[in-house]
Amino acid sequence: MGIPLHLYLPIAGSSVNLLAILGLGGAVGLLSGIFGVGGGFLMTPLLIMMGIPPTVAAASDSNQIVGASTSGTLAHFRLGNVDFKMGLLLLAGGVVGGTFGVQIIKVLRQMGNADFLINLTYVLMLGTIGGYMFIESIQSMRKVQHEAPAPSKSVYARIIGSLPWQTEFKRSGVRLSILMPLILGSIVGILAAIMGVGGGFIMVPVMVYLLRMPMHVVVGTSLFQILFTCINVTIMQAWENHTVDFVLALLLLIGSSLGAQLGAKLGKKLHGDQLKILLASLVLVVMVRMLYQLLATPDVLLAYTGGH
């Protein structure tokens, strides 16, 4: 008698191949551990492609991110890469922004064409963030090779330096106003709610470029913040919509937790600029895929309601 390779998922109402789900979880978990992103923007579309209903895919993915980000946060905490003070302030801002974003999306849906705006936001955000990170990382790598960067105080640095309630973020090695993480956390929360994702891939560049945090601390702190966002989403989705498939989440989790541990170690071996350029490439690939989906004629001119 062979090992059963298929398992029935009662909430998704479908049978899945165990190895395929474990492999998918492992691959996305690896990226999560390296870059500090939850991986929702990759995992959910891949689950839908495997036949999981969109609403179940999105909610179950949030459930597995709880486990993966716990494992990832622990790994980064041991490496001294989690700035709890910064993470909690970003989280507070994110909760306020997320609540506001949900209201915005409700209004957009009533007006119609909300899906158009969501997709447009996706392409613009992914294109801008990915493009900027990519170019900046290449420039940074060239500078390191040729000359030491000249210290300069930009207009942006002077503005953030003049804000009230300046405080020291020891782990990140920066001094900032507490308003900065609160405001930026709120903006990311609004965008994440509109786009229906955890927001890790927006938060990471915000931490790097606007909060001036070192890349390795960014990854650990981002995972710490994503953990709380996804706990909230999992409980709300299970309660309101009954769309969390725990068996699917557990399978993904086994793969992704192992992947996240390996990713954290791999990330430590990579230079900050290398990490940035890899994440930028990943974001740009997803953007190109989304753009193609928007422009190419779909195989079927119908879609189930729900999901993102």
């Binding site: 009662p10 490496l79 997709n119 409980i235 989790l253 937790s257 928007l294 879609a303």
Partner: protein, 261 residues
């Protein structure tokens, strides 16, 4: 013009229904379905339902495995500004079976007789589901093309299939011939009541018919989880979160204990 078309469709539907019921009255079909109850356990990955029976010797068997009619809420895709494809109008399909597997020994085109389009045999095919389906769209959108797109979507999911060659025949006795069909039941199956319909087709019309109920139920771990998820959503959500947290911590500990750093 539209009114005339609607009347014609209703008349055709009524005629189809009448022919089906009269066929049942004219002659039933002796049939057995094995199994007539499917349990979806943790390791369920699709199954096979075997239907055996006898039909009039000069006819061909068309066997359908059908889910109960349900409502489907969907979005129709369209181009915005003539450039990008988006989900636009909301559509509700009513009277659509979740699953439809149609089996025949011969190619369906050979069964339809002279009047291919209006024949009863044609109505048993996937396109025939259009007869009982309703499309509701608040914006006034929704047309026959939407139904064809729905069939395309369901075929892609493996829930709608037309199979030829999986019906086999035995020897003829007393003007009847034995038939047997193996129906592949999809792995993507929801609990509920399903129906196996057998129609004996002669000259494109139904000469005899029969039907049998197949009940599909969750069993074991899937039944327990579904009960918790749908009956106690908040508790299920909290448990799912706590288990995910503990699993993440446990994996983190395992890596530490192996001296990873």
């Amino acid at each position: 013009m539209r009114k005339t078309l609607s009347l014609l469709v209703i008349a055709a539907a009524a005629a189809g229904l009448l022919s089906f019921t009269s066929a049942q009255a004219a002659g039933g079909i002796d049939m057995t379905v094995e199994p007539d109850a499917i349990s979806i356990g943790a390791l369920y990955n699709g199954t096979t339902v075997t239907v055996k029976g006898t039909i009039p010797a000069a006819s061909e068997a068309v066997v359908r495995f059908l889910g109960a009619p349900c409502e489907l809420h969907m979005k129709e895709k369209g181009k915005v500004f003539g450039l990008v494809w988006m989900n636009l109008d909301s559509l509700t399909f009513k009277g659509i079976p979740g699953v439809c597997v149609v089996s025949s020994a011969k190619d369906f085109c050979e069964l339809t007789g002279r009047n291919a389009k209006g024949s009863a045999a044609e109505a048993l095919r996937l396109e025939g589901l259009r007869r009982d389906a309703q499309i509701e769209a608040p914006s006034g959108a929704g047309n026959d093309d939407c139904f064809s797109e729905l069939i395309k979507l369901k075929k892609g999911e493996g829930l709608y299939r037309e199979l030829t060659g999986n019906v086999s025949y035995g020897p003829v006795a007393d003007g009847n011939k034995a038939f047997q069909v193996e129906i592949p039941v999809p792995s993507r199956l929801s609990p509920g009541d399903y129906t196996v319909e057998v129609a004996a087709i002669k000259d494109g019309e139904i000469a005899a018919s029969g039907r049998h109920k197949v009940s599909v139920r969750l069993a074991g771990a899937p039944a327990m989880l579904a009960g918790l998820a749908f009956g106690h959503g908040a508790l299920y959500g909290i448990l799912a979160t706590v288990i995910a947290l503990l699993s993440g911590l446990a994996i983190g500990m395992v890596f530490k204990s192996k001296g990873a750093h």
